[in-house]
């Protein structure tokens, strides 16, 4: 447990010591801010004191933002050889993967905290459904956990950050829309399976403030699976 935290701490420090962190935060806040407040079907268009717009915008910004965050995490260590340094210390493959995961999740949570002023602004305009806001943020956090774990897996199978980024996006796009589209085309059991695999439906019910066990199982099992795969990829030592 402590080892995991030491690894996360180093990751967070190196992230905030580089310009990278600030550029990413700025990008995330600019994009979600623009689309929530100024462009397209923004809050003023909708005309309701609701953060639904923000949640559906963040759904997409995080989709692109997270692979950029996770792409270097293991790939860079593979490329520079520091992975060898780390894994010959009393650190297991699993602790390394979990340390990276925790660091990325904390970063996303920090970014999400920066959007909190918007909640206050909107709630001052009208009557805000607090359950929906809470569900929405929980949904975003869980969605982030899914994409972070996929991103870390993608980062663990290569030593090239660009390959890691594109692989993460490629896998992610299935969960983001393709499974949802397939669920529409197929009927019966296959349709059910695709519907369950699609992240959209689980996320939407969450951001409405409805927390279902099926959704919780979904959001927990995918990260566990992806991180397990990352651990296995690491165990092969890229040989």
């Amino acid at each position: 447990m402590k080892t995991i935290w030491i690894i996360s701490k180093r990751e967070l420090n190196s992230f905030f010591n580089s310009l990278m962190a600030y550029i990413m935060l700025l990008l995330f806040l600019t994009f979600s801010g623009l689309f929530t407040w100024l462009i397209g079907s923004d809050i003023f268009m909708v005309g309701q004191a609701s953060l639904r717009t923000f949640f559906s915008v963040a759904y997409w910004t995080l989709f692109f933002f997270i692979p950029a965050l996770t792409m270097r995490m293991i790939a860079e260590e593979n490329a520079s050889g520091t992975i060898e340094l780390l894994l010959t210390k009393p650190v297991t493959d699993r602790q390394l993967v979990l340390g990276k995961f925790t660091a990325a999740l904390l970063l996303v949570i920090i970014s999400l905290l920066f959007t909190f002023p918007w909640v206050i602004t909107v709630s001052s305009i009208g009557n805000l459904d607090q359950g929906a806001v809470l569900g929405g943020y929980l949904g975003l956090t869980l969605l982030s956990a899914v994409y972070i774990s996929i991103g870390i897996y993608a980062s663990s199978i290569t030593n090239n950050q660009i390959v890691a980024f594109l692989t993460a996006l490629f896998i992610g796009i299935f969960f983001q829309i393709i499974f949802d589209m397939l669920a529409g085309t197929f009927s019966g059991l296959l349709g059910e399976v695709f519907h369950f695999l699609s992240l959209t439906s689980h996320y939407e019910s969450m951001s409405r403030g409805v927390i279902d066990t099926k959704d919780v199982i979904y959001f927990l099992s995918i990260p566990v699976l992806a991180l397990k795969m990352a651990e296995n990829a690491l165990a092969k030592r890229n040989m």
Binding site: T3, I6, S14, E84, L86, T88, P90, M239
Partner: protein, 309 residues
């Protein structure tokens, strides 16, 4: 803690990088791994540090199997990998702190250990710089510092002196010698003088197999066998001297090195010395010996002999 390596094997694809290697290193011993590039030195070290798992065989450290107790045993190993990978974006001090923490050194002892390592490795002036800003020699020192920060009982150093200047090399070798008194040290190198200067025992590896194991002395005996002399004998006809030398009972082979200068190369028969006989011969004939150099087999020659096909 001693290290017992038993028949370990590792292949990359179809190529066997390490082929059933076995050896034993005792506490207080410095073992030097010698071998041409691609001989399997680094792969063997990676297996001893539990980075790679052997396909066959076992590694036993202090009586425990590395395959079963890896997490516990790794705490006792300090490792300097080949090419010395480091987090270039971290300041030296932060990096050492990170290494100390991850080695589970108690919190109150961390500053003391860092200070000690900074002193031992001569990093005082550079300690606040980022590792990426350091020269190769200083990075090497940081690599050594991280390997020793938790005062491990076993040190595995893959080419520890590459990139260091001659003064630093002498210092680091001295340091390794000092450490080697109480600890178990394995170091790899392809610098012969380094092995002769630091190691108690030498292991020569070629194509994944051990081809020689012993002290520098025992190895040279093993290879040398016959005495070899380079001589210059003056005041005589070279051909006459040549013939006379060849007729000595202890001499196996005489060769001209330089006929004009009366230089000869003389090989004695196995386990015999011809120095006295040659001297008596020269006295008898009135020749003057101006040079007599016994040619010792150097580690270089042993190395070449064992690793060239």
């Amino acid at each position: 803690m001693d290290i017992k390596v038993e028949n370990i094997t590792k292949s990359y694809g179809t190529q066997r990088a390490v082929d059933r290697i076995s050896f034993h290193v005792k506490t207080g011993e410095i073992l030097g791994f010698l071998g041409p590039n691609g001989a399997g030195k680094t792969t063997t070290m990676k297996m001893i540090t539990n980075y790679l798992l052997p396909e066959e065989g076992n590694i036993i450290i202090g009586g425990k199997s590395l395959l079963e107790d890896a997490e516990e045993l790794k705490k006792h190993i300090g490792y300097l990998p080949e090419n010395n990978p480091l987090y270039l974006d971290m300041p030296v001090i932060d990096y050492l702190e990170f290494c100390a923490e991850i080695q589970q050194i108690p919190k109150e002892k961390v500053p003391e250990r860092i200070r000690e390592m900074v002193r031992v490795c001569g990093l005082n002036q550079e300690k606040h710089k980022k590792i990426g800003e350091l020269s190769k020699g200083y990075r090497q020192r940081v690599g050594l510092a991280q390997a020793m920060i938790h005062d491990p009982e076993i040190l595995i150093l893959d080419e520890p002196t590459t990139g260091l200047d001659p003064n630093q090399i002498v210092e680091i070798r001295k340091l390794i010698r000092e450490l080697g008194r109480e600890k178990t040290v394995i170091l790899s190198t392809h610098i012969m003088q380094e092995v002769e200067a630091t190691c108690d025992r030498i292991l020569i590896i070629n194509k994944g197999r051990i081809v020689a194991d012993g002290t520098a002395e025992s190895l040279s005996k093993q290879v040398q066998g016959q005495e070899l002399l380079h001589m210059k004998i003056e005041d005589g006809n070279p051909n006459e001297i040549f013939k006379a030398l060849q007729q000595l009972p202890t001499v196996e082979l005489v060769d001209f090195m330089d006929r004009q200068q009366n230089r000869f190369e003389i090989q004695s028969k196995p386990e015999m010395s011809s120095r006295r006989e040659i001297f008596s011969l020269c006295v008898e004939k009135g020749w003057v010996i101006t040079e007599m150099i016994p040619v010792e087999t150097k580690l270089e020659d042993i190395f070449r002999e064992l690793t060239m096909n």
